[in-house]
Symmetry: D2
């Protein structure tokens, strides 16, 4: 499995036991659901994967399990970003050794790079350690507070990070998106990060998308992609509206915790979310099921939570 | 001229004399350029029109001139929003009396409405005073700092503001955009406010757009619209890239001041910008001309500034 | 009455009738309460005075009434700031003609000055029109969003605005406060704007303070000042704690609306607050009274609201 | 060494070798300077100590060295906060075992606690692991983006975190500061975090302060404290002005990197700063020395950088 990351790429959940410990076996059921959904690439240990709540050792164990389970049938992109550059380098080295398809890293967010140059100085040794794996910078300013121009980053990093393959673009600035998509005649992958606006991303030329809702609602996005491909924007918009409803419903309950609860309704137990995020109460899970069950977006029928 | 606002709707500049006084005669040359550009609707006295820097008397004089010049051949939507509700009501009454096609109002931005309900209480008397003119709420959180859900506003205001026709949506939240476009089976106009992302707006279903760059670069947007209409997204994106370059170039010099300088290069003297914004120096105007002259986006050849 | 503004300076409320119209007669009862409280300077038409919700004509009428009522026994500083520089100049001229003691202006907040230079260009003609009245810049970044260094402003404006007397400093940056207080050997008045931290301001060297709670709770602040003057910081802190409790209680109900309701409980009817702010319900006023009545901070016993 | 943390408490730097590796031996020279400065408590591995840029193993090695060097003559408070709760628990356990005087933890800042309750759920197991060491919550919203009421936290956490001793309050909200200082009759330590406003903190009742500039400029703060203690606020303010000048000068060059360069000028080589922060160039260090050398705030004469 090589080549660029394209299509729908779920940002996977990290499975925990009820007591909060890592449950690497939980990866298997996730992979099964994704195969059933026709997915062939995953992005692991990112925001959806609660990267900031995992120790370095846990991140390695998670990556190993995914590589094993993928057995060469899925591309596994490993997120290795960390506030401590040394930790990120260690994770990049590990990802390379175990056979990941690509690595990605976000900006440090306690001490923040002030310029594109600072960001390159931070990222370059991480990418170098993963060489020859393709490196993606993961831009997610809403979480990191780091707001740097990604088109300026591509221009400057192109010659400084030889393995730079593109961006995971979890940023609402569609002007920058356009510039990144067009940069170097489309020579860099721009992986779109706003599931609820996928149709806009496709119109603006993106070829791949990384997001959490591709875990549990791939069918609706596949219908969007198919409608878009045949030029039927009205249908694409109507399907996108279903995705918007899904995501806004989850957001009312706390998006990440609610979507982990939804995974359980799909028969894929990813366990609780770690602090400082808050799990849904039993009552909230019941209400969520009632709200979600009628939606025509899921790959499996939702089981009522106990 | 009645019916909803659709197509490309320039948000016009307010013309001043060199000493900063209002120059209502300057409206005529603007209207001529717009007619030449195939434009049939304008949005006057908005952000581009420096609304916050005008007195109430100046706003009335500006509106009167536009109505005279339009002579029934252009729809004139008048922005009447103000921090002082009484001022906005007075402007709404005036707009109705002189024969405007529609009125719009933004949220007060010193004291800010905390909820959709507060916003409706502020807007309803303004809209009522303009009745039977259609009323548009002008959502521009980047300027006002008022960030309220526009889909929630439409739902609540539908029954409270009988003349509510829609929104001028100068907001980057494309999830809300989708919801507003679909609300009530598309019963409300959602006028897109991000010129540099027009193609994304069209893909998401907007039917009209209000913006400053439609004053001076209508041709490129008309090509975007035409390409979109025939399903040629690649061309639409390529034309949009020209618009992005134009707008980013202007922004380097201070967008509003630079675009007023550009109007002069098109033979339409709109005069200086008022404080606290800053006009371009003579040197900056020269540099701007050099940067803009080669672009294939304008309705006329650019004159070199003296 | 001339000389610098010192001591406790209430930022007065603007009185309205029940239907929202300006009630200039309401000024008289306010002035009476303030005289009874030992106050000899007022700051009118500022944030507390709902400046942004008043028309230019209303602001003039309000200023005229205050000058009449003050009859030379109180210094009346008139806030003339506005987004439209022309409106501010007109108000400054008026303030000079009617005999105000000083004028103040805040930064325009829709279009914002980007630099100290832009701010000076905006303010200088306003100050010039009021000459020879002393001019205060009113820095309130939490409302305007304009965050410029006030020490840099004093340094640059000293030679550009000959009547510059100082600042109304409604800003939490105590480093800037220190620099402004020390600038030019204390040659500029820095009027402290955080009533709930007055003791900190006094420790840092301020000589005057402008705020809303000096309208209705002057006694507690006079005790703070007296304790501070005799070096009894423990008492000053204990009294300040009462002020903190008062202000946090008001803030729970919406500070400005609640404090207008409190004025009525003191027998000074200032009427409702204008949209987009929201008045307290009858029940809320009852609850507020119950919470406030026991506090030992008021100049008069609070009347229970009807 | 037991009891609460009081007085001036330097937040120490983490020493690195020129190649960026941890240099635990560098602790010794720091401790020597602090003893010479009359300091008897330190706060290690906090923001000044580049906590976010250190691995867990490095943080343990750093803490061990400080405990050894302190040899019971200095109180060593160890910062154990981390985004990953498990890492923070591991560090808390280690701090207890090696004989730290106290532990502190900041809020996770990638995933953020939304409520005081979420924050307590995150902190309680960390504090429990360090029991019987006193636990301080380290509130630094400017870095973490977590803005929760610290007075509400104290009220709620008092019964949930039995070892809670107080706060490191690196927050500009002086109303909250007052409430925390007074809470429970002053039963909790509120360690002030704004070195450049120490005199304001003392006026508001703080008994201890944690900051970076106590490493390199203890004399000026000791003069502030002494002047304050004898009621001489004019001198306290004049000394504080020197601290303000020092800190603003450092900030022009990038505060943390510049202050590490300053440590070297004092003969205490703490090495470079880690990415994403940027070290001063040789020229910048020369300029910084020229600007700082004349200041009357340091415990030793500054050596010119090579």
């Amino acid at each position: 499995m090589s080549g660029p990351l394209t299509g729908l790429i779920p940002a996977t959940y990290t499975p925990f036991l009820a007591d909060g410990r890592l449950n690497v076996e939980g990866v298997d059921a996730q992979a099964e659901l994704l195969r059933e959904s026709g997915i062939d690439s995953v992005f692991i240990g990112g925001t959806t994967g609660e990267c900031a709540s995992l120790s370095v050792a846990e991140r390695k164990a998670l990556a190993e399990r995914w590589i094993q389970v993928a057995k060469g049938t899925m591309r596994v992109a490993v997120h290795v970003g960390a506030n401590c550059q040394g930790d990120a380098i260690e994770l990049a080295s590990h990802a390379r050794q175990i056979g990941a398809a690509a690595v990605a890293a976000l900006a440090p967010n306690y001490f923040k790079p002030a310029t594109v140059e600072d960001l390159i100085v931070f990222c370059a040794p991480i990418a170098a350690e993963a060489d020859p794996l393709p490196f993606y910078f993961y831009d997610i300013p809403g979480m990191t507070g780091v707001r740097l121009s990604m088109s300026a980053f591509l221009r400057a990093a192109k010659h400084r990070i030889p393995t730079l393959a593109g961006l995971k673009f979890s940023n609402t600035d569609l002007v920058e998106l356009q510039e990144c998509v067009r940069f170097d005649d489309g020579g860099f992958d721009v992986l779109f990060g706003s599931d609820e606006c996928l149709v806009a991303g496709l119109c603006l030329g993106v070829k791949g998308a990384v997001g959490s809702s591709y875990n549990f609602a791939a069918p609706v996005y596949q219908r969007i992609q198919a409608a878009f491909d045949r030029g039927d924007l009205a249908t694409a918009r109507a399907e996108q509206a279903k995705s918007v409803l899904l995501i806004k419903t989850l957001a009312e309950f706390g998006y990440l915790a609610a979507s982990k609860a939804l995974m359980a309704m799909l028969g894929v137990d990813c366990g609780p979310i770690r602090p400082p995020l808050r799990n849904l109460s039993k009552e909230e899970r019941g209400t969520l099921w009632e709200r979600l069950a009628p939606l025509d977006v899921f790959p499996r029928k939702l089981c009522r939570p106990e």
